[in-house]
């Protein structure tokens, strides 16, 4: 078996094992809560009776997966070179509030309007990520602690902006504050046509968010960038061995800045599927925690775009079951336990499998060469 295929299979096996153990752990929790695990797992696959409810379920799952996928991509770029951008959470919040506000200031033809919003979001996210990057390269400040601090600052700043300078009209009786509503030219067309092609009814609400297409393009583009280009090679080298990368002529400061800014720019897009596809505004009740979940998704997907896509779908699938779980009288927060357990177990499984793979590689090399060389061991 080729080494590459073996490594891939081993990874998948590890992930599956981790998920099985995570299910076992959550079963115990469900049992302790006095509910039946079987009913709970049935609830995850219960998409309803009617075609419409099935379509709704699928749309909800995909809509949840899209921002998680983007968040995972954003995190993965940094992680690939051992740069821990824990600040995705703050970067997307601040980018979302700015993009939503800027988008509401003018009206232009739809493609331009949407493009401007996307660019603003990416620019704000990238600039915000530039702060920890500059702190790291000029003063040697560890990015983990600085991005954590910047998260809190961004969250408070976003709250202040949406309450103060960027606030829009508030309708009677509404408790949340929002940025002004986006003009219709900024509403991203939905993909309900996909369902209609199969003769299925359109899902309710905002439908299937069209930003899915952007996310897929982003994933493919990032794969090409990381796996096939010089920049991607430099990222990989910096991550595997920073001193060797430095000696090979990679400028570590440039790499930190560019990886961090790219990560932040992608993070800036996390809020857009929801803003452009559904809410058309940024409010104080905007979905939180996407950045932190993005870390989990990236780890689960081993920092590779395809893996991140699978992980985002898995998390979307789990999150969709909120309602059915409640019907089955299972506390829906069991999903959080499952997600947390999966992440922890998957990173452990990754360690074990990669160690197995490397040992196998060493053994294979030694076996193939064993016949014509003396014993050589660097003990």
């Amino acid at each position: 078996m080729p080494a590459g295929l073996f490594r891939a299979l081993l990874t998948v096996a590890g992930a599956v094992a981790a998920i099985v153990v995570a299910i076992a752990i959550s079963s115990v929790a469900i049992l302790a809560a006095g509910a039946s695990p079987m009913q709970a797992f049935a609830a995850f696959f219960d998409f309803g009776e009617t075609e419409r409810s099935v379509v709704n379920g699928i749309a909800t799952m995909l809509n949840r997966s899209v921002p998680l996928f983007i968040a995972g991509l954003a995190v993965a770029i940094g992680f690939r070179m051992n740069l821990f951008n824990i600040g995705v959470e703050g970067q997307y919040k601040i980018a979302a509030v700015c993009a939503a506000y800027v988008g509401s200031l003018f009206v232009a033809p739809a493609p331009i309007q949407i493009l401007v919003i996307i660019v603003v979001a990416a620019a704000v996210g990238g600039l915000y990520a530039l702060i920890p990057a500059v702190m790291k390269v000029t003063r040697g400040v560890n990015e983990v602690i600085s991005t954590i601090m910047l998260n809190y600052i961004a969250i408070q700043l976003a709250a202040f902006l949406v309450r103060g300078p960027f606030t829009g009209q508030r309708t009677e009786g509404q408790l949340t504050t929002n940025t002004p509503l986006l003009p219709e030219s900024a509403w991203f067309p939905n993909l309900n046509v996909l369902f209609e092609m199969f003769g299925l009814p359109a899902p309710r609400g905002g439908g299937l968010w069209g930003f899915l297409v952007v996310a897929i393009l982003l994933g493919v583009g990032l794969w090409v960038l990381l796996e096939r280009t010089r920049f991607g090679f430099d990222v990989k080298a910096s991550g595997l061995n920073p001193s060797a990368a430095l000696a090979s002529g990679v400028n570590p400061k440039k790499m930190v800045i560019s990886a961090m800014v790219l990560s932040g720019a992608i993070a800036g897009l996390i809020g857009l599927p929801e803003i452009l596809g559904d809410k058309h505004t940024f409010g104080s009740n905007f979905t939180p925690g996407l950045g932190f979940l993005g870390i989990a998704v990236a780890l689960l997907g081993r920092n590779k775009p395809a893996g991140i896509a699978v992980a985002a779908l898995l998390f979307g699938f789990l999150d969709r079951a909120q309602g059915p779980l409640q019907f089955a009288s299972v506390p829906p927060s069991v999903i959080m336990i499952m997600q947390g357990a999966i992440v922890l177990l998957v990173v452990i499984a990754n360690e074990i499998t990669s160690r197995i793979a490397m040992r196998r590689e060493e053994r294979r090399a030694a076996q193939q060469l064993g016949r014509n060389t003396p014993v050589e061991v660097a003990a």
């Binding site: 990679v250 400028n251 064993g370 014993v375």
Partner: protein
């Protein structure tokens, strides 16, 4: 110093049939060894012969798959180093095992702390250390931070650590590798004193003259197994060498000079501050600035270093590690800012990035291949790309050319005899010698005009060593300018056309390799001989 009166006593250490397997390889196979008490027993063998594994087994860091260990006649099983320590065995590691941010005292007492109820009794510890130090001529201040100590002092701390635990059997793993000849003499003096005190010393080395000088008995290891036990009084270095490698040892000698008149690299006034790089004030020259820094009492890592390397010349730099060699490399590679002028083939490169310097023809065989030379968890062909990301065949436009890179890696594997299953194998699966050959092949592949070779044969087997020397000689004959930095004085003397000695960041002597002895070189390296230019 005869061991005859003690011969009747039970052997201090007796190993029988020790076998240790690692995934895919056998590190030790049926090793048998008897060490008499109160002797210095040398274990010799080339790099990778399995000496270190054997000693780790004896010190409880690894467990043998087969075989028995007897200490003072008693059969023992060591699961951890604590078991070995309890049995009176102590080990001085090749790479010092010291916490830099701890004091000498803290390093020594760690794991065997004196005091009651777990509270550290530093006074008692200090007194004991002082007594031990005085008794064995190992003077080191117990309250100094280890990071402030030199190599010789650190080794003394390591030996004190072992003595503090009451060890009667000392294992010294390549203790002279980092020492200059004068420090080696001091170490041997200490070892003789320890022996006089009834202690047993197991001395691991591959430097045969040293072994013949100090050992009372010698055991030779080859390919993981003991091949002979000899008496040093009845054996010559040549015979020992043949036992070690099964054939004659290669020597690093260059033949006729190929030095030309064309200056390839010109370094002038290279200066580097220890406490961070600051720009030179406008209008001031580098030497004036360096004078001022010296007057202010600032420590300089590189102090006004100047030399020229011609096409076809190998310029060797000798020096005790930590005297500015790494900084010199970093400055030439552009990895760390420094003052002074650098010209490559007449062009000023001082302000260029590392990348641009590499592109313009500097090759680099790094001093530590795992740290600076390889991506261990990446395939061989990706390691071929490393350092050549911006040049064909590795690159086409913004893309990495995978096919061409793989093809060129195949070529290196063939030409440089890198033993590997395929170019997709991860670098970590290769032995040290093969990794190093890959690096040499990679650095030669872009046809550099100037090559930095730092410890090019450190930790590689004899076969690879000879091959690497051949490649360097051939490249020199083809007009390559080489800066050779090495701790192996024979390698330096044998390969270099010109030899400089670096001491505390300064080039203190320029010597002719054809008429210098390692002893005299050592004198310059430690600062024992001063006075500059010779020959």
């Amino acid at each position: 110093m005869s061991s005859d009166p003690l011969a009747a006593a039970r052997p201090a250490v007796e190993l029988a049939g020790i076998t240790k397997r690692f995934p895919g390889v056998v590190a030790n196979h049926d090793v048998c060894l008897t060490v008499e008490p109160g002797t210095v027993h040398a274990i010799v063998g080339e790099n990778g012969a399995g000496k270190s594994t054997l000693m780790k087994i004896l010190y409880g860091m690894q467990q043998p798959d087969e075989g028995t260990i007897k200490v003072n006649g008693q059969e023992v099983t060591f699961r951890t180093p604590s078991d070995a320590i309890a049995a009176g065995i102590g080990m001085v590691h090749q790479h010092f095992m010291l916490a830099d941010n701890f004091t000498v005292l803290e390093n020594i007492v760690l794991g065997a702390e004196p005091g009651q109820f777990g509270i550290l009794d530093t006074r008692q510890a200090r007194e004991r250390i002082k007594a031990l130090a005085a008794g064995h001529g190992l003077q080191v201040g117990p309250d100094r931070l280890v990071e402030d100590l030199g190599v010789g002092d650190r080794q003394r701390v390591e030996i004190l650590k072992v003595l503090y635990r009451g060890a009667r059997i000392l294992i010294l793993d390549e203790p002279t590798a980092v020492l200059v000849p004068q420090e080696v003499d001091e170490l041997f003096e200490t070892l003789r004193e320890l022996k006089a005190g009834g202690l047993t010393v197991i001395f691991i080395s591959h430097k045969l003259d040293e072994v013949l000088n100090i050992a009372d008995a010698i055991t030779v290891i080859r390919r993981g197994t003991t091949v002979a036990s000899v008496d040093p009084r009845e054996v010559t270095a040549r015979q020992l060498a043949e036992l070690m490698v099964g054939s004659e040892l290669p020597t690093p000698e260059t033949r006729e000079s190929t030095v030309t008149d064309t200056v390839m690299l010109k370094v002038s006034g290279l200066t580097m501050e220890a406490d961070g790089h600051r720009p030179i004030p406008k209008g001031a020259s580098v030497s004036a600035y360096a004078d001022r820094l010296r007057a202010e009492g600032r420590r300089l890592l590189l102090d006004d270093v100047s030399f020229e390397i011609h096409q076809g010349e190998i310029l060797g730099i000798a020096g005790v590690e930590g005297n500015g060699q790494s900084e010199l490399i970093e400055a030439i590679m552009g990895m760390r800012p420094a003052h002074g002028d650098l010209a490559l083939g007449g062009e000023d490169i001082a302000s260029w990035s590392t990348l641009k310097r590499r592109e313009s023809g500097i090759g680099y065989i790094p001093e530590d291949r795992h740290r600076q030379g390889l991506l261990l968890e990446a395939s061989l062909w990706e390691n071929r790309v490393l350092g050549h990301q911006t040049r064909p065949p590795a690159r086409s436009g913004i893309w990495i050319n995978r096919r061409a890179s793989k093809a060129d890696t195949e070529r290196i594997v063939k030409d440089y005899d890198v033993r590997t299953p395929s170019v997709d194998t991860l670098a970590l699966a290769l032995s040290g010698g093969n990794q190093q050959k890959l690096i040499v092949g990679r650095e030669m592949s872009s046809e550099p005009t100037f090559l930095i070779a730092a410890h090019p044969t450190r930790g590689v087997d004899v076969g690879a060593q000879a091959a690497i020397w051949d490649h360097l000689r051939n490249a020199r004959a083809a007009g390559l300018a080489v800066l050779l930095i090495s701790a192996d004085l024979d390698e330096l003397i044998g390969l270099s056309d010109t030899l400089h000695v670096i001491y505390k960041g300064r080039l203190v002597a320029r010597l002719d390799p054809s008429d210098v002895t390692p002893e005299r070189l050592g004198g310059y390296m430690t600062g024992a001989i001063t006075g500059t230019e010779e020959t």
